[in-house]
Symmetry: C2
Subunit: 331 residues, 2 copies
């Protein structure tokens, strides 16, 4: 389950508006596949894991060429039932019971007759839930609450998207806290930031950062969608030759009313820490990219104190990405 | 092997003058134990792992009460030979072939007739080497170079101790780079720092830090040995009521000659970054304790630029410990 959770985190925030979910298929104590849901509109984690597990033992299968979710479902159901009877699956979230364009994941697992299903969190989404009941009714062995706390943690952005707004603060620094002095992040980390920008509804940034850095705030590394921009500024006049204003089909809001952010469902904040200070109580995650170098330049000057919990961390190349959650002292 | 490596890192620097070594015992695809060498004078990693593996399946064995290395050897050899014939062991460093107060680890594994031995690094110590030859001669299946790069990385302090001086820089900061403004680290992290101080030969610190912080630089959290202190300072006059001068049997050197550090084998540097700047080329590791909070206070002001590679990281409670190695651009 730990492997399924770590795989899901690689696509955390990138599956918007879907939850980040990971799945691992095992057979006779050996791990056959570790997969995740990667992107809304693509196959669910279970489907990716079942496909990869079958391919692990049948590398020349025609399945290799198939990527659309409904086609994978169809192939597995028509060609691979026997294969999965000795397999178990670990999945961070209860398999969906929602039958839309494809059969539900619970129904797929039921028909493939998997030996056992280990589930982390139960599906909080009423429309898709009922997966575990379907599996149990079909006499599939189901074990619930495996690493439940860690699996529940994965769902935070999804739960916020469903109800209101998920806001995260992204910043890049060196190990000694430098935030300026030229590019800090590698191209690989920048490509990741552009992938985030492609997913979000709104990018918020401080007015001083816009005036000083003259940023573009686009997604040129990945040719993605360019988000709307909210500039947090008392002064409303900006030099319109700053590249961010040149992006086609982009709405730019210049305002000091932070409630505007709540009109959007998925907001990333970039830039200086004075904006973080103003909005710290509304931040769901702080996403920190840390480059393992010391660099001269301005350090992060925070005018407030705040404690965090590290909810996940990983590498992007040789740099770190750390997901932090504000620690609520009243807990 | 990854698990053996991570376990060894938990005791990195604490095994001085021995190398950090980890070992994992598996049986029929299941992990029975994950252990490390913890402290010079105590059992080697293999012995700890073999003991824990036997206890895992025989929890009430008298072996539980035995901790001296030679007694564990004796117990295993007299009571457990059959048990290990279906076991394999992963060990980050070639089992020693050096017979002193106890039989060598290679001889123990040979007599217990383990099925297979997976080795990371070969023993660079001529006196103890020859373990793999002994195992191969006894028809034990041996596989070498498993995660060799990562296992070799574990040996860096040991290799330096053998030849000359191992120097590491320890510092504590918040995620936003603050290094002062009261205690940064938790008591658990402070206890770890005191454990490091107990092992080292010499603690080096900047004169300004001594004058400003008036530190004790002792090991009161763990009642350990208090290291000698080197104060890097041009001005030689210090207020002798500063607590560090009150520690019994401690030698305090006040000097600006950094070559003095090379008279010792194991040196930790604490304190401000100006000393780091002066000695950066002699540093083997930067050990960074990072507390996941933002705090007002002085940020780290580095007057130089330097790139690092993260060689290992772990948690101490909810804080991070990160081992960094200076990246040599000429590589």
């Amino acid at each position: 389950m730990k492997l399924a959770i770590d795989e899901a985190w690689k696509f955390q925030l990138l599956t918007y508006p879907n939850p980040a979910v990971g799945a691992v298929v095992v057979k006779n104590g050996a791990i056959l596949s570790i997969e995740a849901h990667r992107k809304a509109g693509e196959a669910h984690a279970e489907v990716n894991a079942l496909k990869a597990a079958y391919l692990k033992e049948n590398p020349n299968s025609r399945l290799k060429m198939i990527s659309a979710a409904h086609e994978i479902h169809e192939y597995l159901l028509n060609n691979c039932v026997d294969f999965f009877e000795s397999c178990s699956i670990y999945v961070t979230l209860e398999p969906c019971n929602h039958i839309g364009k494809t059969p539900s994941c619970a129904q797929l697992i039921e028909k493939l007759k998997l030996k056992k299903v280990f589930i982390g969190s139960l599906d909080p989404n009423k429309e898709a839930s009922g997966g575990k009941e379907r599996l149990i009714t079909s006499n599939i062995d189901v074990e619930l609450n495996i690493m439940k706390k860690e699996c529940d943690e994965l769902l935070l952005p999804f739960l916020k998207w469903q109800k209101n707004t998920f806001i995260f603060y992204k910043t890049a620094q060196t190990i000694n806290g430098t935030i300026d002095g030229g590019y800090i992040s590698s191209n690989q980390a920048l490509a990741y930031v552009h992938t985030l920008r492609d997913k979000i509804d709104l990018l918020a940034i401080g007015g001083n950062t816009v005036r000083t850095d003259r940023p573009t705030l686009d997604t040129r590394f990945i040719q993605g969608n360019n988000p709307d921009v909210f500039i947090y500024s008392e002064k409303k006049i900006f030099d319109k030759t700053i590249p961010l204003f040149q992006i086609k089909d982009r709405k730019v809001i210049i305002s000091e009313n932070l409630f505007t952010l709540l009109d959007y469902k998925f907001v990333m904040i970039e830039g200086a820490y004075n904006l973080l200070e103003a909005i710290i109580d509304k931040i769901d995650y702080l996403v920190l990219l840390i480059s393992p170098k010391m660099k001269m330049g301005k350090n992060i000057l925070s005018n407030f104190e705040c404690e965090f919990e590290i909810v996940h961390e990983n590498f992007i190349g040789n740099e770190k990405i750390v997901f932090l959650k504000k620690l609520n002292k009243n807990h």
